[in-house]
């Protein structure tokens, strides 16, 4: 069998391959009130949005970097060098032929659908989703589901949008949520009316454009009483031509008895700082579930959270982080119990390869006056090499009696004996490694939608091929 050399490693460097671009709208580098006005003018923001942005800018400037729990690496971000808004006129001047062969091969091996490859490679600015997904889109439209870009949302559905926008994650939550609030563009707005159960998962793909994959997306999803929705963002394909700072804010609201599941699978090129704030609000008997899969990037800081505001609300975070050589995945979960009989569950699995580092940070808060709240936290780390690193920082504050918290953590290593055993059965070292790693995440991946679990499995295979001699 011919062993291919490590395509992911190669193309991670190629991940920086960029084509010359011209934009009709470019806010230039640096961030000031002028930048905000520029963005608001171009986007034709309503006045309240312009005000919101300006206020957020002041908050951003006044807030210190979150050094108390962040990596020192954050200091490498030079805010003055970043372009905060680019849009329009991006008719690509490149063709599929210009895309390096390694990149094409990676898409193929990941099984990315033909139509999506060109968009992902930056060859097409617009992904023509209409043809592919129009049936589903039509179906949800008939059920009264609103599914538009966030800019459309705030203009055309202000009565719902304004009620929740910035309420789950206030501007001042952290420095990066403030930054996003100041310069956001792109992202989705979804509203599911009471009792409507959306059968098919909605994907960001349905209405994708260059802005969607932007740096400062803002997503707001509201699932009304008794309604159900699954939303998926990202894909396992490595992203090309992306800016070095990605700072999104995602707010979810599940009304009484609603169920909302948000799935992310992202694979960043290794120059990216991925600093994302994600939180859901679960009302009475509602359920918010985050399935979060982080691969690549230089530094990812992401701790999806659920505030359980109503009785018997449920919050769940299932996360997988893969930290390759030189990467740091700083991920975890925040569970804030704010009503009786609320339950939360956190399962986190991380894999560190080479000098990769995976950090788990958990926050579980159950105040004194609450009764019968439960949390279960499991975090398992797998180290591939002796140089790999993992840390766990659980912060659990449980007061009062009658509440229960369970916490389990494990660190394991792929053993040489295990690899030899598999090699003796005919698997190459890389195949053995990827089987081990897939086994480690298997029980979590099984909860993913089929297409994602298949892609993820292939992606782990590619990563492991790159990691062994």
């Amino acid at each position: 069998m011919v062993k291919e050399n490590a395509p992911l490693d190669i193309e991670r460097n190629l991940g920086n391959f960029a084509y010359p671009e011209t934009h009709t709208h470019d806010a230039g580098t640096g961030l000031s009130e002028k930048t905000i006005h520029y963005i608001s003018d171009v986007k034709e923001d309503p006045d309240w949005v312009r005000e919101f942005r300006l206020k957020a800018l002041r908050t951003f400037l006044s807030k210190p970097m979150p050094t108390h729990w962040a990596s020192k690496d954050l200091e490498a971000i030079v805010f003055d060098n970043i372009r905060y808004y680019l849009s329009g006129g991006t008719q690509p001047k490149r063709s599929w032929e210009d895309v390096p062969d390694d990149v094409k091969r990676t898409f193929e091996r990941l099984g990315i659908p033909e139509q999506e490859r060109k968009f992902l490679a930056g060859v097409e600015a617009q992904f023509d989703s209409e043809a592919v997904y129009s049936n589903i889109k039509k179906a949800v439209g008939e059920q009264g589901v609103i599914f538009v870009g966030s800019a459309d949302g705030l203009k055309h559905h202000p009565e719902i949008f304004r009620k929740w926008f910035g309420k789950v994650i206030p501007t001042g939550d952290n420095k990066f949520s403030a930054l996003n609030s100041a310069v956001f563009s792109g992202g989705s707005f979804i509203y599911v009316p009471p009792g409507v159960k959306v059968k098919h998962p909605l994907q960001a793909y349905f209405r994708i454009n260059a802005e969607n994959f932007g740096q400062f997306e803002r997503t707001l999803i509201i699932v009304d009483e008794g309604a159900e929705l699954t939303y998926m963002e990202g894909c396992t394909a490595p992203k090309f031509n992306t800016a070095t700072l990605h700072s999104a804010v995602v707010e979810l609201v599940a009304m009484k008895g609603a169920k909302l599941q948000y799935i992310t699978v992202q694979n960043w090129s290794n120059n990216v700082f991925n600093l994302v704030t994600k939180r859901g609000l679960a009302h009475e008997e509602a359920e918010v579930k985050w399935i979060d899969c982080n691969i690549g990037s230089r530094l990812t800081m992401k701790y999806p959270g659920v505030v359980m505001k109503g009785r018997k609300a449920r919050g769940e975070v299932l996360s997988i982080a893969l930290a390759g050589d030189g990467q740091h995945q700083d991920t975890g979960a925040k569970m804030v119990h704010a009503a009786d009989e609320t339950t939360s569950n956190i399962i986190s699995k991380s894999i560190s390869i080479g000098t990769g580092r995976a950090t788990y940070r958990g926050l579980v808060h159950i105040p004194k006056h609450l009764k019968n709240c439960k949390n279960n936290t499991e975090c398992d780390a797998l180290l591939i090499n002796a140089s790999s690193r993992t840390d766990t920082y659980p912060a659990i504050t449980v007061r009062g009696t009658g509440n229960s918290v369970q916490h389990e953590a494990s660190v394991s290593q792929v053993s040489a004996e295990q690899i030899f055993y598999m090699q003796q059965r005919g698997l190459t070292e890389a195949q053995a490694m990827s089987l081990s790693v897939n086994g480690f995440v298997n029980d979590l991946v099984r909860q993913f939608p089929m297409e994602y679990s298949v892609e993820l499995k292939r992606l782990i295979e590619l990563e492991m091929e790159g990691s062994v001699g």
């Binding site: 090699q423 003796q424 059965r425 005919g426 698997l427 086994g439």
Partner: protein, 254 residues
């Protein structure tokens, strides 16, 4: 004639020589038993044949049907038809037997050829029936939480699925109750034939009542000191290894 030939093999670990000039030939179609006291180097021999990275072959050769095995990586040896049943099989958490074996079978197909799932499962169930294994095993993680006997049975299942040319079975009988021993022996016997050579490492003559060997070798301190027919095992059972040790001439110890 095709055979597995080990010639004047020397193997060390941590500066210590464990295999000290071992020679042995297992022709295809035959079953050879190796017996010997604890620590004499039987498992070391098995692992060296399979290509375990911890052991250093300092001299000697191993030829499988004329090919120099020592030059090949462990997985290449396996795909060329060398199988080893481990004395202590590893656990692979989260990987089911079905998926593991599927990957192993797939690894033997030519590049670009995909394993047909229905054929594969038909084959797997047939072999499981042969070994009296419950089908629910296919969805359990490899060796995780298996009893000693279940692990050994699982090794033979893998052997049956992978159709090796030569198989080294390292104490596959230990830890088996008498019924399981019969089942495993039946499994091995059903694989016996002109296309398979077996090297059977065991401490107990009992196994050789069920898997009757063509030859028995006695290994002491890293060498084959005595070889004979199946009756040799009976003699050993009666007289113990001291009898062989006494038999070894003084110069060999010097």
């Amino acid at each position: 004639m095709d055979q597995l030939i080990i010639q004047d093999l020397h193997v060390s670990i941590a500066e210590q020589e464990i295999i000290r000039g071992l020679s042995l030939a297992v022709p295809k179609g035959e079953v050879h038993a190796i017996m010997g006291p604890n620590g004499s180097g039987k498992s070391t021999l098995a692992k060296v044949l399979a290509g375990h990275p911890d052991y250093a072959v300092t001299s000697g050769s191993v030829l499988m049907d004329g090919e120099n095995v020592l030059e090949l990586a462990p997985d290449e040896r396996a795909r060329q038809g060398l199988f080893m049943a481990f004395q202590y099989p590893s656990e692979i958490p989260g990987v089911t037997i079905a998926n593991f074996l599927r990957a192993a079978v797939q690894a033997r197909l030519p590049e670009g050829e995909e394993l047909e799932a229905t054929d594969y499962y038909a084959q797997l169930y047939k072999k499981m029936d042969l070994l009296d294994m419950d089908r629910s095993f296919t969805s359990r993680s490899v060796n995780e939480g298996f009893s000693g006997g279940e692990k050994k049975r699982n090794e033979i299942l893998q052997m049956a699925m992978l159709n090796p040319k030569y198989a080294v079975l390292d104490e596959t009988d230990s830890g088996l109750d008498i019924d399981a021993l019969k089942v495993v022996a039946h499994g091995v016997n059903s694989l016996r034939g002109p296309n398979l050579g077996v090297l059977l490492i065991t401490h107990y003559q009992r196994l050789l009542n069920y898997i009757v060997p063509d030859q028995v070798h006695v290994m002491v301190r890293g060498r084959i000191e005595l070889s004979g027919g199946k009756d040799l095992a009976l003699q050993l059972e009666e007289k113990g290894y001291d009898w062989v040790r006494d038999d070894i001439s003084e110069p060999a110890l010097a």
